[in-house]
Amino acid sequence: MSVMDQNTVRKVARLAQIEVQDSEIDAVGKKLEGIIGFVEQLSEVNTDNVEPLSSVNDIPCPLREDVTNDGGIVDKVLKNAPDSQEGFFVVSKVVE
């Protein structure tokens, strides 16, 4: 395992907020290596003097007028929340 050593797998899992058991690390690492290897094929294409492409659509970015026409739907917004109180989402304490 070259690119995806155990520490890299742990770090990626932490950044993605995904729990990976120690027993799974090697297997997950192998799978990620496979994915990376597949995508790496793109580097075989010569891209010298080619501008990076931010979008495949050659159309201008659509803009909205600055008007208030949304919101006021606190019930809908909170509908999937596991816990809520007086209009707030309630989550496990997160504080430094």
């Binding site: 770090k11 208030t68 026409n69 949304d70 809908k76 909170l78 209009g87 989402f89 989550v91 504080v95």
Partner: protein, 484 residues
């Protein structure tokens, strides 16, 4: 001169750059039609886009773009006609998307420069690195419950302009002057209300220290949670000394994010942020690159108001004011407008004196702003006019001013109704002088035998007898004649 800190091993200086987050004034959010007003009931200003429901797509607010360009122009900065929104990835409960839409490699505004005014009268140029548009996060409340945090997404998705300065600042005083000037410019432009206590302008402080004479930068720390100019200065004082102590003890500074704790007056390491700078930016596939026409930028440029520094120089040049008076008067647009109405076609220095010393003096004492002044600018102008054309004396004017402040009345009416017009009739003044001389024969003798100081006594008596209405200059001249 910037502050130098004397350590045990030599003299140190601070190197400081600021990242200021200014909430742009818009009706609706950066990418949704939900409202942005401060203080609404929790989660009532949240659309399904802001709540990051699956399948929702962001659509850019044209007003947010305009405000960013306007601010960039006001900061004398380069406007980039091509900019790109990217995703900055991190997890936090008040960021429902799991990423913040921001700009990274291609910000909407590039390099620029502003001038800051230091208390010693020095003017210093500070470089602006960039300004980019990004979404604000929601707000978490941690003190309502022992084990839970409460999340309100009303602020989530508001338009933020992140304004990054070059590391050109050298101490807390310069930082204060920079924040003051930046806030003034934003308010003049009408792009941000600059209220630090409501969080619509927030600062992160990047600070490192180095020996005086050294040209390389030291390792810096980023300090968050700095919510006022005073807090910024206190955090800088603490953090610079912490870093110097570390270095002088043979240690090193870790590059990290630290939190300012205003209760303890210390900065603390945010250990949980160890991966904080691994944001894995990439262009947001939900948004096309933003391309602007030069004509669009030019049109916005035409609508810019006179900015604080231009106004200051005009006040000095065309009204003949000193730098200090001019800087007091331009500190807000409404204050400057007020002064210009008062000074209109009148003695500008006299007008400045009445606005600064009398009006601002009493307003400050009462905790009021110039918008809340009971005296209109037109009426204060009339008062200055009455003094200028000798209708009333400066002393009477103070009484009239006090009454205007009480009642908001027109000074011309007050002077008329109370009969406060200055007496400039030679005969009338002579009659009073004659009476004073007759009543004080002994003093006249003493004066004539050389007690010059008594002249003031006679002036006082005449003014008292005339209830302050006699023209002081005429009293002086006529008295001199009569007593000689």
């Amino acid at each position: 001169m910037a502050e130098i800190i004397r350590g045990n091993t030599g003299d140190w200086e601070m190197v400081i750059g600021l990242e200021v987050h200014a909430q742009a004034i818009t009706e609706s959010k950066l990418f949704s039609g939900a409202a942005t007003a401060f203080g609404a009931a929790p989660n009532t200003q949240v659309s399904l886009v802001d709540a990051a429901m699956p399948g929702m797509l962001p659509v850019l607010n044209m007003k947010s773009v305009e405000q960013a360009v306007r601010t960039g122009l006001g900061l004398n900065s380069k406007i980039n006609l091509y900019s790109v929104f990217e995703r900055k990835n991190y997890f936090y409960p008040d960021l429902p998307q799991g990423y913040q839409i921001s700009q990274y490699l291609h910000p909407i505004v590039g390099e620029g420069e502003i001038e800051i005014d230091l208390p010693n009268g020095e003017v210093k140029k500070v470089g602006i690195t960039r300004l980019h548009l990004e979404q604000d996060a929601g707000k978490s409340i941690h003190d309502q419950h022992p084990t839970k945090s409460y999340v309100d997404l009303n602020r989530s998705g508001n338009t933020l302009m992140e304004i990054v300065s070059e590391p050109d600042l050298r101490d807390g005083i310069e930082v204060g002057a920079y924040l003051t000037k930046l806030r003034m410019i934003l308010r003049y432009l009408g792009t941000c209300d600059g209220n630090m206590d409501e969080g619509s302008m927030r600062a992160d402080v990047n600070i490192s220290v180095r020996k005086v004479g050294e040209t390389e930068y030291g390792t810096r720390c980023e300090i968050k949670n700095v919510n006022s100019i005073k807090a910024a200065q206190a955090a800088i004082d603490y953090e610079s000394r912490r870093q110097i102590e570390l270095l002088e003890d043979g240690g090193s500074v870790d590059q990290e994010t630290r939190l300012w704790d205003p209760a303890q007056n210390v900065t603390r390491s945010m250990r949980s942020k160890e991966d904080a700078h691994d944001y894995r930016y990439f262009p947001d596939p939900d948004l096309l690159p933003l391309e602007l026409e030069q004509g669009y930028v030019d049109d916005i440029k035409k609508t810019l108001p006179e900015l604080p520094d231009e106004k200051k120089h005009r006040f000095m040049d065309s009204y003949g004011l000193g730098a200090y008076d001019a800087s007091v008067l331009i500190s807000s647009r409404s204050r400057a407008d007020y002064f210009e109405t008062v000074a209109n076609d009148r003695d500008a220095k006299l007008a400045a004196n009445w606005v600064i010393n009398e009006l601002l003096g009493i307003l400050n004492k009462d905790g009021k702003t110039i918008e809340e002044s009971p005296i209109t600018s037109e009426n204060l102008g009339k008062l200055v006019g009455l003094i200028e054309d000798n209708t009333i004396s400066g002393r009477i004017a103070k009484d009239v001013f006090a009454e205007m402040y009480e009642s908001g009345a027109d000074p011309e009416k007050i002077v008329e109704e109370k009969g406060l017009k200055q007496v400039t009739d030679t005969g009338a003044i002579e009659a009073i002088i004659d009476k004073v001389i007759a009543d004080n024969q002994d003093k006249v003798e003493q004066y004539k035998s050389g007690k010059d100081k008594l002249f003031g006594f006679f002036v006082g008596q005449v003014m008292k007898e005339s209830q302050g209405k006699a023209n002081p200059q005429m009293v002086n001249e006529l008295l001199k004649k009569k007593l000689s």
